[in-house]
């Protein structure tokens, strides 16, 4: 029996566990599921004679949990903005001096000094988007670039509004409308916010994540929404317009970074530089359907995207607001407000 077990584990060692030999010419990418252009990977493989494996995760937190344990075998990860900040702080990312790379000059200057990686030592932009709202321009023809449509809706939009079922998205929109800072723990301001939300809620029809279905089925005429989903909804309901409210709106960005002790560090650096090439960044956008933060990529993008006002922000729109994770005390306040709102 002992002998059998031994030979079993030996067989395992040889047959099953050996595909990881630290050979040159490998790269292991761990990205959000269904978010990596197969064309991009193929091009990279051919150009550098590197074999790429690609795996998907479903949330920043799943990825973090695995990386924290170490020895994942992955080289490249693509965390969201706040997750980059957390991973740098915990020493999980390799300092690759991204800002000295050959293609770094292509990165749009507004994505260099970001709060999650000031000066871009560790990470470069992958895809970014915004969370605002869409309105049917046939139902409401006035100025749409104001959060007033959500919090003090005109008669034609009352009872025709869907909000995201997301605590931070709803509360941050309310705080922007009132002109108060994010991650707020000022009790007077929060009391005012609660009153605003409760009053506005009487005009809201639903609070739901399935925005595309709500809008295209004609269930609502305004919905808080992500820009990518808004573009897809517009394909089925052409009168929808994506708003860039003057009070501000949320931005997010996923960033490519290299894990500390990556088994294929040099290839990983090659990949980071590779995706800052405008042509390659466009490949990513054409697949994932978001903007990429690399200047000069538009000529290589599908016209459907470069003409989409949801993806390419108009020049006069305010800068997107990236909200870092708030302290626990603030989260507790928010939870209380959210519970009252959802009653």
């Amino acid at each position: 029996m002992k002998h059998k077990l031994l030979s079993f584990s030996a067989a395992c060692g040889i047959a099953l566990c050996s595909n990881s030999a630290v050979a040159e010419g490998e790269l292991h990418i761990y990205n959000w599921g269904n978010y990596t252009s197969p064309e991009l990977i193929e091009k990279f493989e051919q150009q550098f004679d590197v074999e790429v494996t690609l795996d998907g995760y479903d949330s920043n937190e799943t990825m973090l949990a695995k990386v924290q344990q170490g020895n994942t075998g992955y080289d490249i990860v693509v965390p969201g903005d706040y997750m980059i900040a957390i991973m740098i702080e915990q020493g999980l990312l390799e300092d690759i001096d991204a800002n000295t790379m050959e293609n770094f000059g292509n990165v749009d200057a507004k994505w260099v000094d970001v709060y999650w990686d000031p000066g871009r030592e560790y990470s470069v932009p992958y895809q970014w988007g915004t969370t605002s709202f869409v309105v049917d321009s046939e139902v409401y023809s006035g100025d749409i670039n104001t959060l007033g449509l959500i919090f003090d809706p005109p008669a034609e939009l009352q009872g025709r509004i869907n909000m995201l079922n997301d605590m931070n998205d709803v509360i941050n929109a309310g705080l922007r409308y009132l002109g108060y800072p994010r991650c707020n723990s000022n009790e007077d301001e929060l009391r005012e916010l609660t009153a605003l939300l409760l009053e506005a809620k009487t005009h809201w029809r639903t609070m739901d994540y399935s925005t595309i279905e709500k809008l295209t089925s004609g269930d609502v005429d305004l919905s808080q929404n992500w820009n990518g989903a808004s573009m897809r909804a517009r394909a089925q309901r052409p009168t929808l317009v994506y708003a860039y409210p003057k009070e501000g709106f949320t931005g997010w960005m996923d960033n490519v970074a290299v894990l500390k002790d990556a088994p294929n560090l040099e290839n990983a650096k090659l990949f980071v530089n590779f995706i800052m090439d405008p042509e390659n960044a466009a490949l990513i956008s054409n697949f994932a359907r978001y903007a990429n933060g690399i200047m000069g990529s538009e000529p290589f993008m599908d016209p459907e995207m470069t003409e989409a006002p949801e993806i390419v922000m108009p020049a006069d729109a305010p800068a997107p607001d990236f909200v870092p994770p708030c302290d626990q005390s603030v989260v507790d306040f928010y939870n209380e407000i959210w519970t009252r709102l959802k009653q």
């Binding site: 197969p38 795996d55 799943t62």
Partner: protein, 267 residues
């Protein structure tokens, strides 16, 4: 008390039953239905088509994930069933011994411990082993799957052994068959239906696992359920419906074989 008591004639019985059946199966039926919809939407019907199945089969990520899933389920169900058979024999075909109940409990442990706890524990242990030995690869995932497949394979095998009387085995022993021959010529052939149903169940359980796989999987080890989970972040497309339908069909096939062999068990 003239009428006979019949549960099915109680007020509201059929309403409750229909409600339960609806809640259990309506979502699945809807998912299958919309996988045949020739349209990007998963709520609006346009026309019947196999378009999304063609796209799913053409998607290299999905193909690779399917191969990984099958490889994993095959290894886990084969080894899981071998260990489960040995365990079932050791807990039924022996004189009761001290600690037999304990052994029984230990074997069934993966059924009782929350899966997320097992997942995180395995993740930490494997990370430690990788750090010490430097060995990586899909072997870890196969090991983890084999372990949680054992109790699922164990149940039907043990049930089969308990149904089999000792008469034939004792008769063989009386005729001077060695224990080795008794096992291979009497016990094992009689046990085959139990072993097959156990293996089928183990295969399906491995095929459908999400949480442990999500935590333990390394580079190039994405399974079909993990692929689906990752893909829905960008919205549920009919392609996902198509893949889910295929996964569902394979699971139903194996569970059907399981029940077929269970019925033979009873005969």
């Amino acid at each position: 008390m003239a009428k006979r008591y019949d549960l099915r004639r109680q007020t509201g019985f059929s309403q409750v039953a229909w409600f339960c059946i609806f809640m259990l199966y309506a979502p699945i039926l809807l998912l299958v239905l919309f996988s045949f919809n020739d349209n990007r939407s998963v709520v609006k019907w346009t026309e019947f088509s196999f378009r999304w199945y063609t796209e799913a089969f053409a998607n290299e990520g999905i193909r690779a994930a399917a191969v990984t899933s099958l490889k994993l389920a095959l290894v886990a169900s084969v080894f899981g069933t071998i260990f489960a058979t040995m365990a079932a024999l050791a807990t039924t075909r022996t004189r009761p011994y001290r600690g037999m109940n304990l052994a029984y409990a230990v074997i069934n442990q993966p059924l009782m411990i929350p899966e997320i706890v097992t997942a995180i524990a395995s993740l930490s242990l494997f990370a430690l082993i990788k750090q010490i030995t430097g060995v990586t690869g899909i072997g870890y995932l196969m090991l983890a799957h084999t372990v949680f497949c054992i109790p699922f394979a164990y149940m039907p095998i043990r049930a089969r052994l308990e149904d089999m009387t000792l008469t034939l085995e004792q008769a063989a022993a009386d005729l001077y068959a060695s224990p080795y021959r008794v096992f291979w010529e009497v016990t094992f052939p009689l046990l085959i239906p139990g072993i097959v149903s156990g293996a089928m169940l183990a295969f399906v359980v491995s095929l459908d696992d999400v949480i442990i796989t999500l935590m333990v999987a390394g580079p190039g080890e994405t399974t079909l359920p993990i692929f689906i989970l990752g893909a829905i972040r960008r919205g549920i497309t009919p392609e996902i419906n198509a893949v889910s339908t295929i996964l569902l069909a394979v699971s139903i096939l194996f569970v059907a074989v399981f029940f077929l062999f269970q019925r033979r068990n009873k005969k």
